[in-house]
Symmetry: C2
Subunit: 525 residues, 2 copies
């Protein structure tokens, strides 16, 4: 990176895609070369490109995705600078910006990886070293694959046997409420299924354009997808003063307002919450379902953190279960899609991009359309499907891998619970940081009270929380995501931080944040 | 399946989603139950669903994807019927409808699967049974993964080291023309990258709506994606009488016509061809590039069959190489995206959904938008990325796995070449079937001359080629795709058939088709 570019980056980074300007700088450099060359060749003729910022899809331009936004790109640069020997006040970048469990040292479940290795290279089935239960799972999965190979396409909805296993898993989870394997669609991570469902829901123009209710703060996949599809985002605010709980009257307010300019048709819920870490009570879920039924909204329940519940008195309740326990009036009426993934919980297998959704009360003709739509992409990754199969069909008490499996799962979840608690405790000791309990999921979303002088200083260039996080990154190497990337009430500032770094490292991270914050406050008071 | 439904299916299946009507029948049954229940509960109130055929995304309704369309769904039903013991004139369904290599018995490359097993379960790195080159590849891949695990997210563009390996692979393929790893984007199969690129290109309304040129016949991913994005499909016809070659004057005709009602901005080429099996000459590719340059079209080159070239005198020429050998006038001007995949060639690893695209001359600001867009889906499946890495970085002559690797690759490609030849020879012996040489890829797209009586009979219910293929399926168990799913000149009829069944089975398939066709001709003459 040359010096001019460096200084450009440092002094001009207002909006969330400020990095774009940094990159544009380089672009203009190389464009200039291009123009020059072309001019040499063809005299004065300069051929404009077909695909430019002016001609490209305007909806794509509107997409923002903070979790991998400019701060993360700056973190990558800093890592390169460290490698090049450039001195910094720290020796490594610590990425607490994304729920990337294994990257933060969480270990994969041995049994799952054994089965995947056996499926990848079936010669290992003859190897005495592998436990029998891993071998029998692998054989069963391979028998369900075309030609006995993970390399064959599956049906677009996902391998039938795996859908049956998922259905039985859901039935166990939901105390016996039936689940039809034909309502299960495997996907490339939960994101893929969420996008597919939103795609089906979006139609109309102007006043009749589909509006979709999403929480603020939200996981930015939702806002990004709505922007890409040109749908209307309807924001409802979670109640920070009440542990980020969902208030039905706030849903009502947001909906009434939205009805003036669009056609609200879906309501998205993330439970346990991302980025806010709350776990919804059963009562709250019932309220949401009643609201959706009364207002004719399609429910989308993002339940990828369903095993990540830590706080005493909190319990995960699936929307499906609550819906069915509310009686026929609801269970036969409310349309619901629920999403799950191999990326979170105790598995943390993000790289495999495994996931599924269950659809409930979906119009059968629409279901045919859904099946057709997913068929265009042929099938979800088969290794991810195989992984999902062992997640929903893990070792049983009479099987050789059971004890190890239970120990690994318990340890991982217990460590996460400990870290959730530690994060909240330490952050709440810092004057000017206020943090709700991390009841579940993998994140804390503390509020930071910034002095007016800092806000003024920041606003020259960027949002105050981006200013704060960028400064933290430059001074400590800790990479967080500014609250503005998830949405927050005007005039409030937050950051999202994962609880994933190993315990000892997390302690250091929290101590560094504490020290940074105090220094920051002193500097701008 | 009850009898009414059966007869509905048999007698009414006109359009390509006729299966939908079959399913609708069941839907209405269950809707009726729903209405009844709801009435019992709430008196006369019947709550309409939120998401119905009337309210759903109209673009999604327009999507068609024949490769997994109604004929394949019928094939699945027939398989179930066979399992239930229902007597048929055959004992198994043979799927020659989709390029699903492993499902048709093609064996995976041992070295690739060893590396994948080692990456999945790194304890195996201590196992003496694995060759050293497989271990060193696996170690290298794991070092490039977060936390040394396939379970970590990668950067959204794909693992940097793998992008470097791909760049070197492309440079070797293209005789040293440089490739920048930063122009490589890994993807979830090639389909994913093709959709992403089209998504960027689509904008405008009415006359200024983006038009995209695609060949007819085409691989239906293209038409499906254009329908979903609401872009304008511009069809140019391949010349069946000249081995499905591409004629520049036909491109010109199609473009001039399209300019009357849309804004043409991209030209898609599939080489080697799917479903048509032709391999483009260098001269033809040069013509296409000159045309794209003159008409300001963004080039999209689908080159997933680049190793699948069988015919004497045919050779694969990458668009990138030809472009750069045409001089600066082209190499610095023409925008190109080229696509590749782990699913085809000698690997046939469809289930892993590995793929990449290389972008050339992409506007640097648009590239930032592209990187942002792919970041919303987090990353392509990491096992597919790992697989791609060994594909582009296979065993070298001094490594222990080299001989086996070369033998396996050579055998697979030689067998495919033999089957390509056999398919064409046998089909051309049948009066009323005319089949171009299968120069490359994995398909034949023969023309079938149907007697007027058959056409008349068919048209009562469906397209004549669907009628033909459905009859073939019911009578022989062979599953092909009607030409109408790929597009064909009016009044001509074709089917697409893969050359993938094992040699002995392929012989039987071809003999059965021959016999069926003769019988069909006799019946309708």
């Amino acid at each position: 990176m040359n010096e001019n570019a460096e200084s450009l980056f440092d002094t001009d980074s207002r909006h969330s895609w400020n990095i774009q300007r940094f990159l544009s700088y380089h672009c203009k450099q190389s464009s200039a070369v291009l123009i020059h060359n072309t001019m040499t060749e063809n005299g004065c003729e300069y051929r404009e490109r077909v695909l430019t910022m002016d001609t490209m899809n305007p909806n794509v331009k509107r997409v923002e995705y903070a979790v991998r936004g400019p701060i993360v790109q700056r973190a990558v640069q800093i890592e390169r600078e460290l490698k090049m020997g450039i001195k910094k006040p720290f020796t490594e970048v610590i990425r607490a910006n994304i729920g990337d469990c294994h990257a933060m040292g969480q270990k994969p479940i041995t049994f799952f990886r054994q089965v995947l290795a056996l499926c990848s290279y079936p010669d290992l089935l003859e190897d005495g070293k592998f436990p029998e239960d891993a071998k029998s799972r692998a054989r069963r999965i391979l028998q369900a694959c075309g030609g006995g190979s993970l390399g064959a396409y599956s049906t677009s909805q996902g391998i039938e046997m795996i859908r049956q296993d998922i259905a039985r898993y859901i039935e166990r989870r939901d105390g016996g409420i039936t689940c039809d394997p034909d309502n299960i669609y495997l996907s490339t991570g939960a994101s893929d299924a969420i996008v597919t469902m939103l795609k089906l829901l979006v139609s109309g123009e102007g006043m009749s354009r589909t509006g979709v209710m999403i929480s603020i703060p939200q996981y930015p996949l939702y806002s990004a997808t709505l922007a890409e599809l040109g749908a209307v985002q309807i924001s409802y605010y979670l109640d920070e003063d009440n542990c980020w709980s969902l208030d039905i009257s706030e849903l009502r307010r947001a909906l009434q307002e939205a009805k003036k300019h669009c056609s609200p048709r879906a309501l998205c819920i993330i439970n346990p919450g991302n980025p806010t870490g709350q776990v919804q009570s059963r009562q709250c879920i019932e309220g949401v379902i009643r609201f959706a039924a009364a207002e004719k909204l399609f429910l989308m329940a993002d339940e990828v953190y369903q095993d990540n519940v830590y706080a005493d008195g909190c319990k995960f309740h699936s929307f499906k279960k609550v819906l069915f326990e509310m009686g026929l009036e609801y269970s036969e009426k409310v349309e619901l899609a629920s999403f799950h993934s191999t990326s979170k919980c105790y598995m943390g297998e993000c790289g495999f991009r495994g996931g599924y959704m269950e659809v409930v009360n979906l119009d059968p003709e629409v279901k045919v359309q859904l099946t057709k739509l997913v068929s265009v992409r042929l099938c979800p990754p088969v290794p991810g499907q195989a992984l999902l199969d062992v997640v929903v069909n893990p070792p049983q008490p009479d099987e050789p891998s059971y004890d190890t499996f239970i120990k690994e799962r318990t340890d991982t979840l217990a460590t996460l619970a400990e870290k959730a608690n530690m994060t909240q405790e330490i952050l709440n000791q810092v004057p000017g940081i206020k943090c709700n309990p991390v009841q579940g999921a993998m994140y804390t979303f503390p509020r930071i009270h910034l002095p007016p002088k800092a806000i003024l200083e920041a606003k020259k260039e960027q949002t105050p929380d981006m200013f704060y996080c960028m400064k933290l990154l430059e001074e400590t190497g800790i990479c967080l995501v500014p609250g503005s990337g998830f949405g927050q009430r005007d005039g409030t500032y937050h950051f999202r931080m994962t609880i994933l770094p190993p315990k000892e490292k997390l302690k250091i991270v929290l101590a560094k944040i504490k020290e940074f914050h105090q220094h920051f406050m002193a500097q701008y008071s």
